[in-house]
């Protein structure tokens, strides 16, 4: 059943609605609930496929559904509709306004109603797709403050990588942080690239979600095997590669590549002069879990992230 989570009147003949699909057995189910949320960033579309696939699969196999599945495919409908990462008209990153405020402006109000609706789920997935600049292997990012409660779920989610990162004040205003702080376990998935859909990654995450539904007693049907992710809890073992100069980046390897020290990752070239401005090589053995997708770079642009250590290969 499609439900409206929150709606507000817009100035010119339009109603803004954030909607979800609620899937439940006819008897209402056992009270357990998983929520799949995506579309906070309007240019990240990988979650669209996951929402479609999960909803389609469950609706065709309703007899196995024991609990509640809430699917929120578009938290920022204006952004998705206009290829805008943030909230158009406000130039605002929606993932910096949580937990919102029911007495606040339109966006704060929307944020507060979304949090109210999703809170109390046994587990929430917040699916992101990096941005238009970078491609990521399927991974879950966890704030170290919530590592104890989240890592056990993340290990079962069929992702390749779990990255436990340091706490930062700025991240306190994200959707996931607000829910985690309120005791609703929320996993942030980053996978693929902005403005595109990588179906293989969607299929992979779908299997992880169904597996966790099974573990949570929400699903009585078929289970899927999940892979064992690499877990990084040490910020020292993740290396960032930033452009030393401006130019056009040509990648030499794909994300997920296992690298030896000195392997060529890519080149920054200058089409005006026809020269190579820089060659980017791996500073050590490791696993390239992020690579630059968007070719235009300026000094400082992120080109890739490496998890160091030769045992780190999937």
């Amino acid at each position: 059943m499609i439900e409206t989570v929150v709606k507000v009147d817009l100035p010119v003949d339009e109603m803004l609605q954030i909607r979800k699909m609620r899937l439940q057995p006819e008897n209402g189910g056992n009270g357990r609930r998983i929520s799949i949320v995506t579309g906070i960033h309007g240019d990240e579309l990988e979650g669209q496929y996951v929402c479609y696939k999960l909803s389609d699969y469950i609706r065709k196999n309703m007899k196995y559904l024991a609990g509640t599945v809430d699917v929120y495919p578009a938290l920022n409908p204006f952004g998705i509709d206009s290829i805008t990462r943030g909230i158009p008209a406000f130039d605002l990153d929606m993932n910096r306004i949580f937990p919102g405020n029911t007495e606040g402006d339109m966006n704060e109000y929307l944020a507060a109603q979304i949090v109210r609706d999703a809170a109390g789920s046994d587990l929430v997935f917040d699916i992101h797709a990096s941005n238009i600049f970078l491609t990521e292997v399927p991974q879950i990012r966890i704030n170290e403050l919530h590592a104890d409660s989240l890592v056990p779920y993340a290990r079962e989610a069929n992702v390749d990588f779990i990255w436990i990162h340091g706490a930062s004040t700025v991240l306190e205003s994200t959707f996931a942080h607000s829910l985690n702080a309120a005791g609703t376990p929320t996993l942030v998935v980053e996978m693929g690239v902005g403005m595109r859909i990588t179906q293989a990654y969607g299929d992979q995450l779908f299997a992880g979600i169904v597996h966790l539904m099974k573990r949570l007693g929400i699903w009585k049907g078929e289970d899927f095997d999940v892979r064992t992710p690499i877990v990084s809890a040490d910020n020292e073992d993740v290396g960032f590669l930033n452009a030393s100069t401006s130019g056009i980046f040509l990648k030499n390897v794909e994300h997920g590549a296992v690298l030896k020290k000195g392997d060529l990752i890519g080149r920054i070239v200058n089409p005006l002069t026809g020269t190579v401005a820089d060659e980017i090589t791996s500073p050590a053995d490791g696993w390239l879990f992020t690579i630059r997708e968007y070719p235009v770079v300026s000094e400082g642009s992120l080109l890739g992230r490496i998890l160091y250590g030769k045992e780190n290969s999937v």
Binding site: L10, P11, D105, M106, T169, S173, N242, N270, S298
Partner: protein, 312 residues
């Protein structure tokens, strides 16, 4: 006056990205003034240009105190200004959410880091700032409460109001906040406009900065003494919101005194023109901020009022 390049990045097809500074006097790093950081901050850029013009005159007359240096950075983001984009040209990030910066990080982190390295050792830091919501302000000085704030000093600008602001999570990456963390006494100067240039409030702001420079023993200046500032915290301010979306017809402007119950604005239906909401003041006071766009979304903070306290 000495013009220096504080930070530079080489681009592929554009001219070098440069952050330029204008230095007056020499010696102790006394006061740094930063102007526009976003591509729409015309008023902030204009204020700096007027300040530079004035400081040039004062320097020629020997009015800058021996052993004191003043640095003015009129624009931190010429790239965005020149293409009329509010945030960073390629990834839309806001430089004023990147402090203290990082010299090995992303482009805007490097810009913030490069600038901060050049300006973090000043005793006083002033920024001509703009608000995240579009609207008009009564000129005021804003001070972030970090434990290092200095309200008495903020009064030295001689502005009618000093607004004390409790930082939210995203404020911790602004220039003002990080200046204070590095023990620079930091103040944000708000004038009425951002995109449009308003010469009257720009002049008032420049005078206030010169006033501040005089009172902190940095220059000799014979100017307007200013007001005795009233200090108000953001928690004390009364926010007035509209109930319906539609055309915004403001009846009162920033700086006006209003009475409880007075009509501040009407909201009208965008198709049929009928009034759908009448916005009344919940208190006696002075309007600090007003919404300034033709249309308004539901429940927008269209007015911020400084309530009148009982005199005694």
């Amino acid at each position: 006056m000495e013009k220096k390049i504080l930070f530079k990045i080489k681009a592929l097809y554009r001219d070098d990205f440069r952050v330029s500074g204008f230095s007056f006097g020499s010696g102790e790093k006394a006061v740094c003034i930063v102007g526009s950081m976003r591509g729409n901050e015309n008023q902030q850029l204009y204020c700096c240009s007027q300040l530079i013009r004035k400081l040039k005159e004062l320097e020629a007359k020997g009015r800058i105190h021996e052993g004191k240096e003043i640095l003015v950075v009129p624009c931190v983001n010429p790239y965005s200004m020149n293409i009329k984009k509010r945030f960073w040209s390629i990834d839309n990030t806001d430089i004023n959410r990147m402090f203290p910066g990082y010299d090995e990080g992303e482009t805007t982190q490097r810009i913030a880091g490069g600038l901060f390295e050049a300006i973090k050792d000043y005793v006083y830091g002033l920024q001509f700032a703009s608000f995240y919501m579009p609207g008009r302000f009564v000129p005021h000085i804003r001070v972030m409460k970090t434990g290092f704030e200095d309200v008495e000093l903020a009064k030295k600008f001689g502005f009618p109001y000093v607004v004390l602001h409790t930082p939210r999570p995203f404020d911790t990456t602004t220039l003002n906040y990080n200046w204070q963390v590095w023990e620079t006494k930091a103040f944000s100067v708000y004038t009425t406009f951002t995109e449009e240039i308003d010469r009257a409030s720009a002049r008032q702001a420049v005078e206030a900065v010169l006033n501040f420079l005089r009172k902190t023993d940095t220059i000799d200046y014979d100017g307007f003494e200013g007001y005795v500032s009233k200090v108000v915290s953001t928690e004390e301010m009364v926010t007035v919101r509209n109930r319906t979306a539609g055309f915004f017809e403001g009846k009162t402007g920033a700086g006006e005194h209003v009475r409880k119950g007075q009509v501040l604005a009407y909201i009208a239906d965008c198709y049929e023109g009928n009034v759908t909401d009448e916005i009344c003041s919940p208190t006696d006071g002075t309007i600090l901020f007003t919404h300034a766009e033709p249309r308004v979304y539901q429940n927008t903070a269209v007015y911020k009022i400084i309530p009148e306290k009982d005199e005694w």
